[in-house]
């Protein structure tokens, strides 16, 4: 009954990304943080044609697509650069993590994961061995939080099923 998933393919760049998609808050927003990193494949090569979606858990007041309101948007979308880099400017979520979806050519279904901005007792993290747990923890450097996505192989990111 459910409609099956199909890959986003390589040619979504003229359709899905939008100008303010990576900016969940405007420049200079008090307490804004940057969440950035790279996406890698099973050979350790960057994935230059992935699309990432970030979700804070609340829609907020800024608008999802047009971003013409004040304050925060809870949703962000960012395509990776040729070196696999993505970059979001966002507010801190209410809880310890942000939800992340990754779409790409070669992914028939999007993969879901979480970016934890802080370590601590957590039902998901506590169920993982230390090596796998580490794949969900962003590395903080001031207001910049680095989180790489490894789709396959060594250091493979923990992906979630709901």
């Amino acid at each position: 009954m459910i409609t099956p998933s199909q890959t986003v393919g390589p040619f979504f760049g003229h359709a899905l990304p939008y100008e303010t998609g990576p900016d969940l808050v405007p420049e200079g927003y008090p307490g804004a943080i940057t969440v950035t990193g790279r996406v890698f494949d099973g050979a350790g090569e960057p994935v230059p044609d992935a699309l990432l979606e970030l979700w804070l858990g609340e829609t907020g007041t800024r608008g999802v697509l047009r971003r013409d309101g004040e304050g925060v948007s809870g949703f962000g979308r960012c395509a990776t650069a040729p070196d696999g880099t993505y970059r979001f400017r966002t507010a801190r979520p209410a809880g310890p993590y942000l939800a992340l979806l990754v779409f790409a050519r070669g992914l028939l279904c999007a993969v879901a994961t979480r970016i934890y901005l802080q370590d601590g007792p957590d039902p998901l993290l506590d169920a993982l061995d230390p090596e796998r747990r580490a794949t969900l923890l962003a590395r903080a450097d001031g207001d910049v939080h680095r989180f790489d996505v490894r789709l396959q192989g060594e250091g493979e990111t923990v992906f979630l099923e709901f």
Binding site: M1, I2, T3, P4, S5, Q6, T7, V8, G9, P10, F11, F12, G13, H14, A15, L16, D41, G42, A43, V47, D49, E53, W55, G57, T59, G63, V64, L65, R66, D68, F75, P93, G95, Y97, L98, A99, L101, A104, R105, G106, L107, L108, C109, A110, V111, A112, P123, L124, A127, L128, L151, Q152, G153, E156, T157, V158, F159, L160, E161, F162
Partner: protein, 221 residues
């Protein structure tokens, strides 16, 4: 099984991109933020965004079509006010994307991207032109059947779906590893739109119907 396994070696790009470990099943957590989804305001989508034939000075070349259907949850209830995005190749099988090297003519009057919000019955409607099939380099003499890409949100981030809509009776179906990655034949059928004379507008455009049914949210279990 409805969804394709991410590792589907017939589709070559999956080999180095499909996760090798099984996804970790999250224990039921009513506070998980993935159980919520963005809410879209009507001002965010323009009235013309759903008409892909009126985005430029002139009309695009090709067979004008209407594509409409409903976005439903797994119990058949309409999902209202949710964002549906579509994108596609032009009538000659070429995308308005710098990376598309297929030597078919670009169409200056066709970008091939549209979006709309579903109405009270979960209905969406696009006017566009029928996309062409195109070759790709997955294997010798590989061709994608004509398709329109769909992106749909739903009421929970866990329902987020990107898929492709195909056209009935396409002879390329058996040769396409992306469509065939869906293991179940009945599930593959759900990717194929239905020609609908009632959607067709006389002397103007052929009509196709395509419903999108999103998965259960964990709270429905």
């Amino acid at each position: 099984m409805t969804h394709p396994p991410n590792r589907s070696p017939g589709y070559r790009s999956t080999i180095l991109r499909a996760p090798s470990r099984p996804a970790v099943a999250l224990k039921a957590d009513p506070d998980a933020i993935e159980l919520t989804s963005p809410v879209f305001g009507h001002g965010e989508v323009g009235a013309l965004d759903a008409d892909l034939t009126r985005q430029h000075e002139g009309e695009p070349i090709g067979e004008r079509i209407i594509v409409t259907g409903r976005v439903l949850d797994s119990s058949g209830r309409p999902i209202r006010n949710t964002l549906v995005e579509v994108w596609q190749a032009n009538a000659a099988g070429r995308y308005a994307h710098a990376g598309d090297r297929h030597p078919a003519p670009p169409d200056p009057n066709f970008t091939g991207a549209g979006r709309c919000l579903t109405d009270h019955e979960g209905r969406y409607r696009f006017v566009t032109i029928k996309p062409g099939a195109y070759p790709w380099r997955n294997h010798p003499n590989a061709w994608r059947p004509a398709h329109i890409h769909f992106s749909v949100f739903g009421t929970a981030f866990t329902q987020r779906l990107v898929t492709q809509m195909y056209f009935p009776g396409d002879p390329l179906f058996p040769f396409d590893p992306i469509m065939q990655s869906v293991p179940d034949a009945a599930a593959r059928e759900r990717l194929v739109s239905a020609f609908d004379l009632d959607v067709t507008e006389p002397e103007w455009a052929l009509g196709y119907r395509f419903d999108v049914v999103l998965g259960r949210t964990p709270m429905e279990d």
